[in-house]
């Protein structure tokens, strides 16, 4: 393999945020994909179902995310064809993705993504919620709340302060929307069109896109050039 080979991402999705709540895992992101600094695509679904028990959210190079979805499709299809009462849970899928990402990194041919893997699976001790992340260099971990990209800097501090065990769905949505709003205001590549998805033992739901209410009515925005004569 070529030791000098490097990828550059072309079409990229930005932050994904996720957290565990009482009934399962909730995940959210916007539906935009940028081409450099151009906001090229505005209706991109970056959260998908995987098998019966998991959701995957991807930020970074969108074509690589699509490739990963294809790998997962093959994986879950083969698993399903066994029809033997066993199925791949979120932990197994996370472990598999970690192997894929890390191996690609070692070949200097990374899949340029940060992936969030969340799900619920019935285990011997009851329903087990799972939430983890793996990125393009193969770093992976499990946590109660995850964010990628700018979310690491803006959403994680909020989640660390306000996340609690056993939040209801409504509380979880409120907290996620708070994070999404901060990202909308502060992350240049975000757009005001979000999707929330949840997964419980009953199954997964990816809600249709919607917008958040923003407030730009601050006094300082009214006459922006007041303090700088001559500027535009």
């Amino acid at each position: 393999y070529n030791l000098e080979r490097r990828e550059n991402p072309y079409v990229t999705g930005n932050s994904v945020i996720a957290m565990k709540y009482k009934d399962g895992v909730i995940m959210a992101c916007d539906t935009g994909a940028s081409y450099g600094s151009t906001l090229r695509y505005k209706s991109v679904e970056r959260i998908k179902e995987v098998g019966k028990h998991s959701l995957i959210g991807g930020s970074g190079e969108f074509s690589d995310f699509q490739e990963i979805l294809r790998y997962l499709d093959e994986l879950t299809l083969n698993d399903h064809m066994w029809d033997d009462g066993n199925s791949l849970g979120p932990k197994e899928i996370h472990a598999y993705l970690t192997r894929v990402m890390y191996n690609r990194r070692n070949k200097f041919d990374p899949l340029w993504n940060s992936l969030v893997l969340g799900g619920v699976k019935k285990g011997p001790k009851g329903d087990e919620k799972y939430l983890g992340m793996v990125n393009m260099i193969g770093t992976h971990f499990e946590e109660n709340h995850i964010a990628t990209g700018f979310g690491n800097h803006m959403a994680i501090p909020i989640l660390r302060g306000e996340w609690r065990e056993d939040m209801t769905f409504e509380e979880a949505v409120k907290l996620i929307e708070k994070c999404l709003l901060v990202l909308l205001y502060r992350d240049r590549s975000s757009i005001n069109k979000f999707q929330i998805a949840k997964i419980t033992t009953e199954g997964s739901t990816i809600y249709p896109p919607y917008a958040l209410k923003t407030n730009w009515g601050f006094a300082a925005f009214e006459n922006p050039s007041k303090g700088a004569v001559g500027t535009w």
Binding site: W82, G85, N86, G89, K91, E92, A95, Y96, G123, P124
Partner: protein, 330 residues
């Protein structure tokens, strides 16, 4: 030949019709052979049994069937399972008093193990393969390989050897026992590449005695506690010893399962001290497992020898408390 376990009747292993293959005597090939003056009744089977890749006119692969014979020559192994636990037991035979006995039970992963009968060298190699499969799966998926998929990989490997002219079938049958998220499982993989799931099974020499013992009881196994499974496994092995005394030195027992609190009890051999304790308690209680035997005590099997017949007859009188020392009737 040295690789094989001790046979009760060592015989020249030739294709020209010897006693262990008597069950094939009724094949049409024999008739054909007889037309040649009947000197060697099964001579014509010889035509189709040189290669594993040669079919007989009746659609049989004789090399595969001979491989399954090798399994029947090995010393007995028994497997049984409940909904949550699976137990494997093996009768230990050593070639002579000076040597140690052959290892017949192998741990393949924390959640699975095998007991084998037949060419133990083949069994060792297959155990290594199974361990490798489990390790690879655990490395990628961070989860135990489901037992059905383990059994399938073993079966596919065995099948390859039935379809290559430069190979021979593995001469070992494996009882694969394990635990996964759908419960405890027991599979039997044979040299032909076939495999089935079982509630209980026995392989090896004199395994029919054990099978008969298990056939009478298997419907209750799903609800058995681990201790009950172990006891029945020991009793089944005892059947195959045919009169010889069951002690902790001539049997091996292993168990795997999910405990009541949900944690896994990993596959492990039970140490000989505990086995001896269980054997002693079984003998004290006359090892009659409560009231499910009375109706069947009349269906006493002909392959039982001597004392065992008397052992079961009084079962109808026994109270349903196998652990309570009961007065010996014999």
């Amino acid at each position: 030949r040295q690789q094989k376990e001790e046979n009760s009747t060592p015989e020249p292993y030739s294709c020209y019709g010897h006693a262990p293959l008597a069950h094939l005597a009724s094949s049409p090939d024999r008739r054909r052979g007889e037309s040649r003056g009947g000197r060697r009744p099964r001579m014509f089977r010889n035509q189709y049994d040189t290669d594993v890749t040669t079919w007989s006119p009746q659609g049989r692969l004789f090399q595969v069937e001979y491989a399954m014979e090798a399994v029947k020559q090995g010393s007995a192994c028994v497997g049984l399972r409940s909904a949550t636990h699976a137990v494997l037991a093996a009768a230990n035979k050593s070639a002579n008093e000076l040597s140690s006995h052959q290892r017949k039970v192998f741990r393949v992963a924390d959640h699975a193990g095998v007991a084998l009968a037949g060419l133990t060298a083949d069994g060792r190699v297959l155990s290594r393969f199974l361990r490798n499969e489990c390790i690879n799966h655990a490395f990628v998926y961070d989860a135990p390989l489901p037992v059905s998929r383990l059994a399938l990989r073993l079966a596919d490997k065995a099948q390859v050897c039935t379809q290559r002219s430069w190979k021979r079938p593995y001469g070992v049958g494996l009882l694969v026992a394990g635990l996964d998220e759908s419960g405890a499982h027991l599979y039997y993989n044979c040299p032909s590449g076939n495999y089935f799931e079982y509630q209980a099974f026995a392989i090896g020499s004199r395994s029919q005695a054990a099978k008969t013992y298990l056939e009478r009881r298997f419907e209750k196994f799903n609800a058995y506690t681990p201790d009950e499974l172990i006891k029945d496994a020991l009793s089944a092995i005892k059947e195959t010893l045919q009169g010889e005394k069951l002690t902790s030195s001539n049997c091996t027992i292993a168990i795997v399962g999910r405990k009541e609190d949900g944690t896994v009890e990993p596959f492990s051999m039970i140490d000989s001290k505990r086995i001896q304790e269980i054997i002693d308690s079984m003998e004290a209680a006359d090892e009659a497992p409560a009231a499910d035997v009375p109706a069947e005590s009349s269906s006493m099997q002909e392959d039982r020898g001597d004392a065992p017949a008397a052992r079961d007859a009084p079962a109808a009188d026994e109270p349903a408390a196998p652990d309570a020392p009961a007065p010996m009737d014999i």
